[in-house]
């Protein structure tokens, strides 16, 4: 268990905003290469680890298991006269969690520069400023530069930054984890753990498994599209995190899913209607492991591209319920992290039954 938490920590702390996933890809490659030989990456930086079928290889269909490597972040767009940096979001951020945040900027010569998003003190705010949300365009990053010239010498326009946030295990019995980028390093960690497990607990298969670690999901123009076109999978599981609001005071119809109750399976979201048969197939395991349905139509993920690639594909989205998504302090439950791996293992083990589509 400790090893799985350490893996989650290493992955979550790695630097990998959309378009710059190299560090994350290296870590994943290092973790899985003792267990899989067929590892390739493409022009968009996607990493594909391929386990061919044990029998009937020529006609074997492919099960695609997919998680994205990129995280939300910031991009430097300019400078102000005093040496502060202007920026914009990579992916979707809420302005309510940006002020005051520490960031790490990946600058020239691969230097990592620390910065903080500066805040106008409340004492100096006018009444209307005090009650309203500050837009990103009025926020600045302070790296400690004394002048615009010094800032220009340290950081370039187009340099990217991610939140600087430690990995913390907390809560009763250490059941919770907090870090940046749990979306979707948690998904990547689940797939890595599954790869390791399948090499120890072998399942004889008449289907291929393609473990796909994709790029650019957060910006919406995702790497997953090209991977799906290349593989033409018959079935795909998108292993993700999903934004929930299971917080005290949220009415039950808006909570989405509950931490600690297992991976949340989506019926539909803003871009995909999921394969109902696949959904029901997974719910059959609810007596053996925690699993739940996502009770809200919201968000979207790589399934949107995958399920319409080539001549279509049966898709399932399995997501760790995560609070404060897209913030430096994402919170997930370790029980869900383990339960998702358990469910995926059963999907692999019982895949021929799934293919029969009898349930």
């Amino acid at each position: 268990m400790q090893e799985k938490i350490e893996l989650l920590k290493t992955l979550s702390l790695a630097f990998g905003p959309s378009g710059l996933e190299d560090e994350v890809r290296s870590i994943i490659e290092k973790e899985i290469s003792p267990f899989i030989t067929d590892i390739s990456s493409d022009a968009l930086g996607n990493l594909i680890a391929f386990l061919p079928a044990d029998k009937q290889r020529e006609t074997a269909p492919t099960l695609m298991l997919c998680a994205h490597m990129d995280e939300v972040g910031l991009m430097i767009t300019g400078y102000d006269e005093n040496g502060f940096l202007r920026f914009d979001e990579i992916g979707g951020l809420s302005e309510k969690i940006v002020p005051g945040r520490r960031v790490t900027i990946f600058a020239r010569d691969s230097k990592k520069i620390s910065g903080v998003i500066s805040v106008k003190p409340t004492h100096l705010q006018q009444k209307d400023e005090r009650d309203s949300v500050t837009p990103l365009s009025e926020m600045y990053i302070d790296v400690g530069a004394k002048s615009k010239t010094e800032a220009e010498a340290t950081v370039d326009i187009g340099d990217c930054a991610v939140f600087d946030s430690d990995f913390v295990v907390f809560g009763e019995n250490g059941s919770k984890v907090k870090c940046k980028a749990l979306d979707d390093r948690l998904g990547c960690a689940v797939l890595i753990n599954l790869i390791k497990r399948l090499s120890k607990e072998r399942v004889l298969r008449n289907f291929n498994i393609a473990f796909c670690f994709t790029t650019r999901e957060e910006t919406g123009l995702s790497g997953a599209l090209t991977v799906a076109k290349r593989l033409s999978p018959e079935y795909a599981v998108i292993v993700e995190t999903t934004a929930v609001s299971d917080i005290y005071g949220t009415p039950s119809h808006m909570r989405v899913a509950e931490l600690g109750h297992g991976g949340a399976i989506s019926i539909a979201d803003r871009s995909t209607v999921y394969d109902r048969h696949f959904v029901n197939f997974c719910l059959r395991y609810k007596d053996e492991l925690p699993v739940q349905l996502k009770e809200y139509v919201s968000g979207g993920n790589d399934a949107s591209h995958i399920h319409r690639a080539s001549d279509g594909c049966h898709v399932l989205a399995l997501s760790a319920p995560t609070r404060y998504l897209h913030s430096p302090a994402c919170v997930s439950d370790t029980r869900d992290y383990y339960a998702m791996e358990e469910l995926l293992y059963r999907i692999v083990r019982d895949f021929e039954l799934l293919q029969k589509r009898e349930v």
């Binding site: 005093n82 809420s94 520490r102 805040v119 949300v133 809560g171 005071g249 809200y296 302090a329």
Partner: protein
């Protein structure tokens, strides 16, 4: 500057939410151990350290730096391990959501202040800034377990880590006003009793953030000093901040020109800064210096007071920024003041009159 950085980090690791300064009494008194002759607390929670000069009839100088910080208190324990909280001191609602905090109960508990993710915001809620009363602290405990650890009234502070930016700038929480406390400790620890021209009374006053100046008033009355220096933080220049209300960072400490402080002794300290080649900036604060400096001069039967400051970025958030160079400059000034015989003699004259 390493010494000041160590003091800052040590002070920031001690919880001193306004009203709860007494909780870590031993740790705070220990800070003065090798430096002062006396270290005591009082009925409201301030700390008074005394270092005596070897000179006879040395005047007393009171150096005040409030040690309390903004924070929160638990107001309700709710289902799912969520805590409702009230603010202590002036918190900014723009910088609460998703923050990391420590709740101080029978043991310390880590928590995150709740936030609705962008995926679940509607057009209505997207632009509405939630008030602190609408947020919760997420502890990851069950309500039953949590009730055995924390209670209504338990203090809560930010716990985000301290980081370094370029040009010796530090970023952390509680810098208001621990950077001043650190500068004072750094200065006094470097001056021997033989060198002192004053008996030094260092007051780490309590409850400044709470409002009402309770710690400063009672502490100053107790000290019965002849001259008071108020040390606090000031606004550092940043985008969208009026230049007349703020100071440059990295260009020295501030000296306040105000109707509520002593113009005569403020000028003497400016002259001392020039003689000692110390970097200083002046700031005009006519009616109100916004610090304990407002009341220190009113202690006992009235004493001259000078208000000094350190420029601070993003005040009252968990990411305040300060230049170590400015802190060290203030420390050097304090060191020069407490050794200055002519200043001491001026204070004695003022006392007689």
């Amino acid at each position: 500057m390493e010494n000041i950085k160590n003091y800052i980090e040590e002070l920031c690791s001690i919880m001193t939410v306004s009203g709860f300064e007494y909780r870590n009494k031993e740790k705070i008194l220990k800070l003065g151990e090798k430096i002062f002759d006396e270290a005591t607390t009082d009925k409201v929670g301030s700390y008074l350290f005394v270092k005596r000069s070897k000179k006879e009839n040395a005047p007393r100088i009171l150096i005040d730096a409030h040690i309390d910080e903004i924070g929160f208190v638990v107001s309700e324990i709710c289902d799912g391990g969520f805590l409702k909280f009230s603010s202590v001191g002036g918190l900014d609602a723009h910088v609460l959501q998703g923050c990391e905090v420590t709740v101080y109960g029978k043991q310390e508990i880590f928590g995150i202040i709740t936030s609705t993710p962008p995926h679940l915001l509607t057009n209505e809620t997207k632009n509405k800034l939630e008030k602190p009363e609408e947020l919760y602290i997420d502890t990851g405990y069950s309500k039953a377990s949590l009730e055995n650890i924390v209670s209504v009234g338990s203090p809560v502070s930010f716990c985000e880590k301290c980081i370094s930016l370029s040009n010796d700038i530090l970023c952390g929480h509680g810098f208001d006003n621990k950077v001043s406390c650190a500068s004072a400790l750094d200065a006094i620890s470097g001056v021997s009793a033989e060198e002192l021209a004053f008996d030094v009374y260092l007051l780490f006053s309590c409850r400044e953030e709470y409002g009402g100046f309770v710690g400063a008033q009672t502490g100053a009355d107790r000290a019965k000093a002849d001259l008071a220096l108020s040390l606090d933080v000031n606004f550092a220049r940043a985008p969208k901040i009026d230049e007349t209300l703020s100071l440059k960072m990295g260009e020295g400490y501030s000296v306040s020109l105000s109707a509520v402080t002593s113009r005569k002794f403020t000028k003497k300290i400016i002259e001392l800064s020039k003689r000692s080649n110390l970097p200083y900036q002046t700031v005009a604060e006519p009616n109100n210096v916004g610090t304990n400096g407002n009341v220190l001069g009113l202690s006992n039967f009235g004493i001259p007071c000078v208000d000094l400051g350190i420029p601070l970025g993003s005040m009252h958030t968990f990411s305040e920024t300060v230049s170590l160079y400015d802190c060290k400059s203030l420390s050097r000034l304090l060191s020069a003041i407490i050794r200055d015989a002519s200043l001491a003699s001026e204070v004695c004259n003022a006392r007689k009159n």
